[in-house]
Symmetry: C2
Subunit: 318 residues, 2 copies
Amino acid sequence: MHVFGLEQIKQVLPGLDLVPLIKDGFKAYSAGRTVVPPVGELVFNDPPGDVHIKYGYIKGDDYFVIKIASGFYENSDLGLSSSQGGMMLLFDQRTGREKGVLVDECYLTNVRTAVAGAICAEVLAPDPVECIGVLGTGVQARMQVSYLSTITRCRQVKVWGRSEQKMRQYQDEMSADGWQVETCSAPGDVAASCNLIITATPTKTPLLTADHVKPGTHITAMGSDSPGKQELEPGILEKADLIVADSILQCRERGEIVHGLTSGLINEKDIIELGTILDEKASGRTAESQITIADLTGVAVQDIQIAKAVFEACRKGA
Amino acid sequence: MHVFGLEQIKQVLPGLDLVPLIKDGFKAYSAGRTVVPPVGELVFNDPPGDVHIKYGYIKGDDYFVIKIASGFYENSDLGLSSSQGGMMLLFDQRTGREKGVLVDECYLTNVRTAVAGAICAEVLAPDPVECIGVLGTGVQARMQVSYLSTITRCRQVKVWGRSEQKMRQYQDEMSADGWQVETCSAPGDVAASCNLIITATPTKTPLLTADHVKPGTHITAMGSDSPGKQELEPGILEKADLIVADSILQCRERGEIVHGLTSGLINEKDIIELGTILDEKASGRTAESQITIADLTGVAVQDIQIAKAVFEACRKGA
């Protein structure tokens, strides 16, 4: 069995064109050409942590993939990353035989999530993007912005986070990468001046309300990966002209959409899957004044696509 | 990350006393001291195969474990084992960090299943066991009998399988290990002369009926690991004096018990968990004339217990 670690994975990534691969994954998913069972979840209380198991396959493909990603948020007290236990396992779809393991420490999950955000911006963000707004100062708050660099020429970023210190750190680090970053004192201030907003926090209390969001705004919400988390007041979904889910099935249980559905403010028929838009069977943004929302919960097909590409590149390089 | 293969795993196994470890696992499970989410399942049609993901942890323990086991039944046409893609992954329960992988090719799943069968025989089989009956001629049909050698002095075995050739092979191989094996022409012939019966087939059509089973018999049914499989006519459960499940929760979906419940012939309150008996909070067999049934669907806590013991032994030896 081939085992590749994070260093090798990071070496091959720049050579891969992930956007079309992940797009193909979303298209296959929405067209019913995949088998993706419900997300497996393991929750820990002492210390708090959660582990997600996402798995599945594209029919007729060579591989099936099982992805394990964990978040143990008190690891920072020990000087450790919260996502220690991430790996992607590849198996032969015809015999079940294990082919290899990418011990990615959740890095590939972060990359494929950021790529999905870039794809959403490509089909949903207004043109031009005047300013990119970011709620959160963590890994995704950085990577989502970094992966927008090929989608938009905008380099203006407004960021809000609970910790003043982490906001300053975000500003310093992203500025070094060529972004012009301003910090904001409230989430509403971000929404007031940005027309492409990324929410990347683990909050359980909504940060943005319907009043905050002005016409012509796109929001990609990707922080709510577990049931109970929520970044947007459901009124925003009601106000939106277009609600896009990576997976309608998963959004019944997690993400932002579930809160809109259970509150009765939106209806499942109002939701379009990203893969359906990418397959040109539904429209993305059709007018500059529209409010569009993309709710990303993370689908195994993203893991399948990135795992295959990285594994084959690692094997060639090994 | 430590990776240990099947050869190393087989080297350390003889030094491990698995029965008390697996018993402790069942006790912890039935006492509510574990977190074991529903089994993850991935099904393939072309070629046919299934993958089971079992995972969880014992509260306060060092590890959590994710176990992957696959069955691709046309592999034999390629000269390959059906269970190519088995592995057990161990992680640190406090940080989520991966600790190691046992690439066991499903061998440890077979071992922990056989150990569970031996535990069932210990608390449920009549004394003395006059003859051991086996339906099936595969890996479990062998291992279940082998692991009985410390539980009973009986060395008489009657076996039935669909293939005459595989029955002869079973007879030859098990005889070489000191068992006195007779072949039978029908499942009912096994039941007529054996008071400890193991069913280890992937059948979807019941092999034994209530009329076949005589008083003073214990049956351990372990072939029905997926919904749809069924080895015993539900009337056997109705006739039984004691129905034992490894997991009542899992037996609502798979195994023999689900068929008894859905047919209305038995009630969930009639079922006792193995761990409850091992913990002496319920009785096992209380009279020689009783018919007892153990329905084993395989619980993640068995994987957790065997994975920890094998991993630590491999690490010491490495």
